[in-house]
Amino acid sequence: MSDPFATLGLPVRFGLARSEIEARWKELSKALHPDRHMQASPAERRQALGRAVTVNEAYRAIRDELGRAEAVLALRGGRTRRDADPALLMEVMELRETLAEKRASGDQAGVRRLSDRVEAQASAVRVALAMALDGEPPALDIAAAELARLRYLQRFLDEVRATEDEA
């Protein structure tokens, strides 16, 4: 897929506001959505549809922060880390164990404290990630490591939330 930032007419930046991305997506959708070209010739309808799809793909690619970080990293010539840092794995495993213990003992307040703490860590990672990706020049290795970290923390938080919903 081509550069999703260019498709949406945005600078390649991690630190974009979601509302800004959404606004671009909506403006382009208004120009390209099939509903706007119902009366046009089939050639134009096909062209509009193809572009609407590209715009929606670009929006999906960079709307959420993890996808956006990945896209910036790739465009800046960095590589996403597939192998996780052993220290990070250890840390996440410990978080999981703590969570399981607190759950088992029915310590709801403890679960919430834990998730608040991880949430705060994730926020700090976001700041570091923005500095690494959007700096001049970007610090690609740091960015890749922070991105991996954010992904693990985010997954942990999603799991906490999912099990809360079940409870």
Binding site: L8, G9, R24, W25, K26, E27, L28, S29, K30, A31, L32, H33, P34, D35, R36, M38, Q39, A40, S41, P42, A43, E44, R46, Q47, A48, L49, R51, A52, V53, N56, E57, Y59, R60
Partner: protein, 634 residues
């Protein structure tokens, strides 16, 4: 189908909106001036019961007549066919419903065995209802153009595809499938509000749906949807009928039917009156009967509380509270009952919007959208951006679902995922497409299964199989797969199998013609001519707007193709018309691309395309009327 002979072929076909409901169906349109109106029969009735009766001979009977005689031929009279749409023959829901004879107990599509030794699918049954609605519209309007057809927000891909197939079978061009709650919001003109959260409470005869709609900067999102597929006004009738049967005891079917009819009449009377005094009469026995509205309200209270639970669940799913709501819309005839309205007001703290008949509101909204999409003249600036209601994925090893497109993805869209083989020398690859939010494929809705064959034998893990999902603006999926390691490309284009293949639809259409329903050649000529003229007009309009994007050579080529097309349209040869239309297509391909690029540039320049259009119009001295949308009282 005699429209070709009767109506002026030059008259512009008019777009229509259709509410294809479980209990009743309605067709509506927007007249050249004013808001949307429902089309009524000679008795002034807009509701067509969604009932189709097959007889040993002749075409099936649809609507009131079929409903009246349903008891005489229960197995040949398909009631509430919408409940079967997109369901497999082995689906437990299929088995549970109705007195029908099923022609098969397996396969992706339900098949009813009906009178005349016929076997029909829910798609064909729905097509009969749509055909009836289309004919009604044609009687009133002359030629009918495309249609917007509404579907429940929770309809999955199979159900949407089945609805679209039914329309094709009925000879209707589908402009768009529209979510029912969104249609109701459009009828109330809420799109012009730009932002807000609206609860749509839809209590029909036998189903209850509740949806939280969010309007964000002119974009509607279905935030959450829920309800009860076995709850509706019929349950109120049953509750009251039980009391009537206590007054005139007995269990024979005729008595039960009498009690249900009497109960419905009393319920309707209680909508206006605080008490009803009447005489019950069955089989010559008469009993005086009196009921206060408060007693009826107490009787249906448990039903209302069931709807309340569904409302709270939907609010919770959307992480919203009742105080976040900006409006409540009532849909469905059962919301006329005063206790329903009062209850909704009590649980939401908002008094529901008023002014549009709750039976018609969905059809009227569909008509508004059809008019926006295909109507003539200036229309208010409404663009609905829709999202996938449920995630799409494929089954991988161990029955786990790999999600390819998540729910709430903006459509139209596409996405691809690369898979590999798990066994050495594996030459086939089974692809199982599912829809739903669950982790395991067996808990999701199965949409299609197909096998990609002819993969060159190689070690496990070496083949690279790309599976691509495409979803159009109606939320309909097509899947293709190709193997891309050895330069050998295999592309299999698959439309999920629950619907009908193009061949099957063609076959059904042809058999309809064989039954003497029309002249296929005349229809073909008419269709090609309309299509050719449409393409010509669109091209001329494009040349007027963006002619500067063309070199003089390119311009000459397009002008030539236009002249050739016009000449063919004056003749009677449908193949020539098609060929010339295609030729014009070919020479305008690059032009169309440049026009889209320009449109994108304008959009990105922060200058909405609409305002550009408005400026151009003002420059030409045309003033655009800003009329409020659909403030109709039906």
């Amino acid at each position: 189908m005699s429209l070709l002979q009767i109506h002026d072929p030059a008259a512009a076909p008019r777009p229509i909106g259709i509410d294809l409901g479980t209990t009743n169906s309605i067709v509506a349109y927007v007249p050249p001036s004013g808001g949307p109106v429902a089309i009524r029969d000679c008795d002034g009735e807009a509701l067509v019961p969604s009932v189709v009766q097959y007889r040993a001979q002749g075409t099936p009977v649809v609507g009131t007549t079929a409903q009246r005689t349903a008891v005489e031929a229960p197995a040949d009279t398909i009631v509430s066919v919408k409940r079967f749409m997109g369901r497999g023959a082995a689906d437990p829901e299929t088995r549970r419903l109705g007195p029908y004879r099923f022609a098969t107990s397996e396969g992706p599509v339900v098949k009813f065995a009906v009178a005349g030794e016929r076997v029909v699918t829910p798609i064909e049954v729905s097509a009969e209802i749509l055909r009836e609605l289309k004919e009604r519209a044609e009687d009133e309007l002359g030629p009918v153009g495309g249609a917007v057809i509404t579907v429940p927000a929770y309809f999955d891909d199979a159900q949407r595809q089945a609805t679209k197939d039914a329309a094709r079978l009925a000879g209707i061009t589908v402009l768009r499938l529209l979510n029912e709650p969104t249609a109701a919001a459009l009828a109330y003109g809420l799109a012009s509000k730009r932002n807000g959260r609206f609860l749509v409470y839809d209590l029909g005869g036998g189903t209850f749906d509740v949806t939280l709609l969010e309007l964000e900067d002119g974009v509607f999102h279905v935030r959450a949807t829920g309800g009860d597929s076995q709850l509706g006004g019929d349950d109120m009738d049953r509750a009251l009928a039980a009391e009537l049967l206590a007054a005139l005891p007995g269990e024979e079917p005729a008595r039960v039917r009498w009690a249900l009819d009497a109960a419905r009449q009393i319920k309707h009377a209680l909508t206006e009156a605080a008490a009803v005094e009447t005489e019950l009469e069955f089989a010559g026995v008469r009993v005086p009967y009196r009921i206060e509205r408060t007693a009826f309200d107490a009787m249906i209270r448990p039903l209302l509380e069931r709807t309340g639970r569904a409302v709270r669940r939907v609010l919770a799913d959307a992480e919203a509270r009742a105080t976040d709501l900006d409006g409540v819309i009532l849909v469905g005839g059962s919301t006329r009952v005063p206790a329903v309205r009062a209850y909704v007001q009590q649980i939401t703290g908002l008094s529901p919007l008023e002014g549009i008949d709750p039976d018609l509101v969905v059809a009227l909204g569909a008509a508004v959208q059809a008019d926006v999409l295909a109507g003539e003249g200036e229309r208010p600036d409404v663009l609905l951006l829709d999202v996938l209601p449920l995630s799409l994925g494929i089954e991988t090893m161990g029955g786990v679902v790999e999600r390819i497109l998540g729910r709430n993805t903006a459509i139209p869209t596409e996405a691809a995922q690369v898979f590999t083989t798990y066994a050495d020398q594996q030459t086939g690859f089974e692809i199982h497409v599912v829809q739903g939010e669950r982790e395991l494929a067996k808990d999701c809705r199965s949409l299609a299964r197909f096998t990609l064959r002819g993969i060159p034998p190689m070690a496990a893990g070496l083949a690279r199989l790309e599976v691509r999902f495409r979803v159009d603006a109606d939320g309909l999926l097509s899947v293709s797969a190709r193997e891309r390691t050895t330069g050998i490309e295999q592309t299999v284009e698959v439309r999920p199998t629950y619907g009908l293949s193009d061949e099957e639809i063609e076959g059904m259409l042809l058999s309809a013609y064989e039954q003497g329903e029309g002249d296929i050649q005349a229809r073909l000529v008419a269709e090609r001519r309309v299509e050719g003229a449409r393409v010509r007009m669109a091209t001329e309009k494009a040349l007027g707007e963006d002619g500067d994007l063309l070199s003089s050579d390119e311009r000459r080529a397009i002008d030539d193709a236009l002249a050739q097309l016009s000449a063919s349209l004056a003749g009677e040869d449908p193949r020539l018309m098609q060929a010339r239309t295609d030729a014009l297509e070919t020479v305008t391909h690059a032009f169309a691309g440049r026009r889209m690029d320009r449109a994108m540039q304008r959009a990105l320049a922060g200058q909405a395309v609409d305002s550009v259009a408005a400026v151009t119009q003002n420059a030409r001295g045309i003033e655009r009327a800003h009329e409020p949308l659909a403030e109709t009282k039906a």
